[in-house]
Amino acid sequence: MLADPVALLRPTSPARQFRTRLVMALAFAALVVALVPLAAIAWYVISKGIAVINLDFFTQDPPGDLSAVGGGIRNAIVGTMEMTGVAAVIAVPVGLLVAIFDVEVGRQPALVIRFVIDVLGALPSIVVGIFVYSLVVVAQGHFSGFAGSIALAIIMLPPIVVTTEEMLRLLPRPIAEGARALGLSRWRSFLSVFLPTAFSGIFTGVLLAISRAIGETAPLLFTALGNNFFSLDMSEPMQGLPLLIYRNALNSAFPAAEARAFGAALTLVVIVLLFNLTGRWMVARSRPSGGR
């Protein structure tokens, strides 16, 4: 008969086993603590937001007096889409070009460019708002949706450059060498081979950058300013969802404003999640094993 293992080997002392279990329990507790606010905010935004949302909410503009009941957030939704759309139109091509340039150029200049981009990405968004204000708003003499777009474009630029660069650098060697062997010129290679191959990764980066920009308030405060009326004119002050939420939150002593704020918040969160989750889903799809 085989000997009794417990007597023979030196098992781990209960104290050490306890320590492992304790650490695991604490780590789990940390997770729970972090998820409580998530659950709480989800509950509040959904329950209070749904109460206010109906068709009118999306087809009417807010009342001039925020304390008045009724009205909707139409101008804010349209404004956000317009400003973010223009911002993307600016940021995506510029971002792609900068990323391509960074990949093409020698090691030293690339480091400098990357450094500038990193600094840009670390800027507080309100500082970006100030920058755009000092140049664009002052030059124009008034606030405008266009200035807001520029601010959002600056916010979107670093993530787009970083993701695009990474996607290009990760291109498998055979593709790069294949293009060279075919005698393609550099720009042709990019246009016809590299960019299309890296497309889904780049697209995901763009989606995530957009999802971030849509939720930004601070850059719009002194650029687009906000507008109570419906307007498609980018050269005038423009309303955005985050701005509307902010102004109503400041007036949330009034129940109507509070309700409106939550309805708009729910709308904003849904839009952001749409872009965010689509981006993540594309990432998950392209990676067969799905990392940690």
């Binding site: 085989l2 080997l9 030196r10 781990t12």
Partner: protein
Amino acid sequence: MDEATVDGDVVEAIASGSHVPVAAKADRVTGGVLRVENLTAFYGKRKAVRDVTLDFQPNAITAIIGPSGSGKSTLLRCIDRMHEIVPGGRVEGLVEYRGVDIYDQRVDPAAVRRSIGMVFQQPNPFPTMSIADNVVAAARFNGLVKGKGPERDLMERCLVQAALWDEVKDKLDHSGTSLSGGQQQRLCIARALALAPDVLLMDEPCSALDPVATLQVEQLMTELRASYTIVIVTHNMQQASRVSDRTAFLTMGDDKAGYLVEEGATVQMFTQPRLQLTDDYISGRFG
């Protein structure tokens, strides 16, 4: 600090400097130290090595040789229950250490690993610790040694045993990774010895080392043979013939699983193997 069940015998043995196998009392059960019976190792559904039965001679060096893919390292890792930490890693069959089935439900895998030490192919001293701390780290966190004095004695004794003391005694506070490859590997051996195991598993311990370092480690192995049961996996046949007392030859079968072809005294295996396949491998005709 609060390790209540430190084995008094072991602590005393370590402190007094005499190497005492962890359970000399168990020798009455079976004569041997280590054996393996019908051992099969899986990665998920795939068999990596099948039906190996081997008795490892105590106080001797057994070499496991064979071409790559023959499951040598997998077999080795089954012995100290390191195979199962890989996702999908599973073991069937018997591994008997001093009469104990180490895969028994009641056995704590960590306990097995304290008695059966392992040295890896790539030397892996702890990078954030000094040489001195590296040696005693495991003894410390296993609660086997306490206090500056005993620690220092243990460290010195293990470094002497690992034939490294003279080379590092003046720089014990230097980082563990500041040593050469061969020295690092001997440091890892010293670290393993600090737990007073009686079996040492070595997974291609010299393949990352230069020839000089390789010779140092091989010499160390021959010195350690007297006190430990050593099992070494190697793809270097000359090393196996130089160093080992017994040799086991594994190869990959048609089912892509490794299996034991032949086993015997080293001298015999290398001059007059029983099977043609063994002879083919040893003469370099394949692998």
